[in-house]
């Protein structure tokens, strides 16, 4: 590079070749690497979609074709028409929407109290929420399972939580442990803290009650934060696999994610149908994300916690 620069330098008297062309080359290399990384990232998705359109015979072809010979929409029909798919869709929707709604309500209420109200034990409760952010949730699945099983008076349990199945295999059991998260409370608290206090003070002078202030003034202002919380809650419940897997033993309570796993591990699994199902399951989250992208990335950025 250096000797090229020397020979070329006289042509441009003020700027050396290197100074002039290096930024361009750097930019080209940068773009090249970015495009390579983007292709590497998106390739598994492209294979997923490509395989979902193949005939059974084509899925066994080796090496596989990247572009399928024809578009076999029947795979999507087969995936949707599976005997349990409708039921699984309902279960996934109830779980995801229930979890989303309860997170939005409970985290907003708690976040507002921690941001704006004065009460005894506030610092302690806030410290507890922050501390619980660090509890590794996945490793708690065993006791959570046992607790859900032992909820008193549910599923034939007595008042001590013995004798029945508790909330196992129920929507309540699925939603309850995900109905509020330390992350959601923390995020809403951060958001409410940043709203100027003057809004509340003027309403209070007008004689408004605490709940009215929250409901009529603060909540409408918190729409962007609520959108982030909603999208993230929906995404995490819709995509959740481990909790529904452990909680449900009955086939009619399985979610779509469990359904996909069963479809894939079944004795007569067909890659094309499995991939059609995977595409269908992935689409809603991507569509929701693309609509709410700006909010979600901003929210993840400002709260600094993964989505």
């Amino acid at each position: 590079m250096s000797d090229i620069a020397q020979t070329a330098a006289p042509a441009v008297p003020t700027v050396s070749f290197q100074q002039r062309w290096w930024p361009v080359a750097e930019r080209a290399i940068g773009y090249g690497l970015l495009i390579f990384a983007a292709l590497a990232t998106i390739t598994p998705f492209l294979w997923m979609v490509s395989t979902s359109f193949k005939t059974d015979a084509e899925t066994f072809q080796f090496p596989p074709n990247f572009i399928p010979n024809s578009l076999v929409w029947q795979n999507y029909i087969d995936a949707i028409a599976g005997p349990d798919t409708g039921r699984q869709l309902i279960n996934s929707l109830v779980f995801a929407l229930g979890s989303t709604a309860s997170n939005m309500v409970f985290c907003a209420l708690a976040g507002y109290a921690l941001a704006r109200m004065q009460f005894k034990g506030k610092n302690l409760i806030f410290a507890l929420v922050v501390g619980l952010l660090m509890v590794p949730a996945q490793s708690q699945i065993v006791p959570v399972f046992l607790i859900v099983q032992r909820i008193p008076f549910a599923g034939g349990n007595d008042w001590l939580g013995n004798g029945g199945t508790g909330l196992l295999n129920t929507y309540w059991g699925m939603i309850l442990p995900t109905a509020a998260t330390p992350f959601g409370i923390f995020m809403m608290r951060q958001f409410f803290s940043r709203i100027p206090i003057e809004y509340e003070e003027s309403a209070r002078l007008d004689g408004a009650k605490t709940f009215t202030i929250f409901w009529r003034i603060l909540l409408p202002l918190a729409r962007p934060a609520m959108a982030v919380l909603g999208v993230l809650s929906f995404q995490s419940a819709w995509n959740d696999f481990i909790w529904p897997l452990i909680l449900t033993s009955q086939r009619e309570m399985a979610t779509l994610q469990i359904g996909l796993q069963l479809l894939q591990s079944g004795p007569d699994a067909r890659w094309n149908v499995v991939m059609a199902m995977a595409t269908l399951i992935t689409l809603p989250v991507i569509v929701v994300f693309l609509f709410a992208q700006r909010y979600v990335i901003d929210g993840a950025v400002t709260s600094g916690v993964k989505g």
Partner: protein, 300 residues
């Protein structure tokens, strides 16, 4: 990073008036947190001192479970596998996330498209990702071996060989996680004052020097924060292993949480599983404390 900003918020000097409705606002969320996190954490510790199981009446066995863990060679293998997986995922994820963030922080054309593409794997459900990667790794009809064969290279048993399976899982995890790292680094980059870069450029600093002398040191807090998040998350890996390898081949992908799951729901030895969970929890706590200490020292 997020925690600092919360404490930095100035509290207005106000007379204290107890607001009773605050408890009503907090109660539902606190009940849920109690049932889903606090009570389970406490229960785990208590259960780990018992032999609770569906198989027999429960007895207190005190530290027997922990003593058993120390000499359990399968558990030791799981600890080793988990450590290998954690290091293997965390470091490349952070490096790739940082590079992507730095590249996409400026006014680069098409940066939104790149960002979205890099973030797509984060949005994909674990099962969808696992199923797709099982196809990608499929030895007899999958695209990776297809490409290798076309290039005249030998195909590999990606998930079927004890030597390769863990690495294959690591590659998939990096693919799924580096979008998260990118987003958090992008947030960190926003906080670096622009004039530092301008001054450095006026002094004729090279891009490489700017990256290593300004960007990387200025992001050290974000890096620590991200490292802790990623370690805590990868330490608990379970779903991908459950679906893709079921711990095999030859236990080469058995991790702590996977073994915990098997011990609890396969053998119904809840007490022993709780002991594993407690060890995992203590390890994560230790990491968080060390990380926070290091971060504090770095600041002062």
């Amino acid at each position: 990073m997020a925690l600092q900003s919360s404490t930095a918020l100035a509290r207005r000097p106000q007379s204290f008036t107890q607001n009773w409705s605050a408890y009503a606002f907090l109660t539902p969320a606190l009940i849920i947190l109690f049932l889903s996190l606090l009570l389970p954490a406490a229960a785990t510790v208590v259960m780990s001192l018992t032999d609770i199981s569906f198989l027999r009446p429960t007895n207190f066995v005190w530290f027997d479970n922990y003593i058993k863990l120390v000499s359990d060679s399968r558990f030791r293998q799981a600890v080793g596998n988990t450590a290998y997986y954690t290091v293997g995922v965390t470091l490349p994820t952070m490096a790739l996330g940082l590079l992507a963030a730095v590249a996409l922080n400026g006014k680069l054309r098409g940066r939104i498209v790149f960002r979205t593409i890099f973030y797509l794997p984060v949005l994909t459900s674990l099962i969808a990702a696992a199923v797709v990667w099982m196809y990608v790794y499929e030895p007899y009809s999958g695209p990776i071996n297809g490409t290798l064969t076309q290039l005249g290279l030998p195909p590999q048993p990606w998930l079927q060989s004890p030597n390769l399976a863990m690495t294959s899982l690591i590659v998939m995890a990096i693919w799924r996680d580096f979008g998260t790292a990118m987003i958090i680094y992008l947030a960190g980059l926003q906080d670096i004052p622009k004039d530092i870069y301008e001054a450095a450029r006026l002094d004729g600093a090279k891009t490489k020097d700017i990256f290593f002398r300004i960007t990387v040191p200025m992001l050290s807090n974000v890096t620590f924060y991200l490292m802790i998040i990623l370690i805590v998350q990868t330490f608990q890996v379970f779903g991908a292993i459950y679906v893709m390898t079921n711990g095999g081949p030859l236990g080469s992908t058995e991790t702590i949480v996977f073994q915990m799951y098997q011990t609890a729901f396969g053998y119904t030895e809840f007490g022993y599983a709780a002991a594993m969970s407690t060890v995992l929890f203590l390890a994560i706590l230790l990491f968080s404390i060390i990380g926070t200490k290091l971060m504090r020292r770095g600041e002062s």
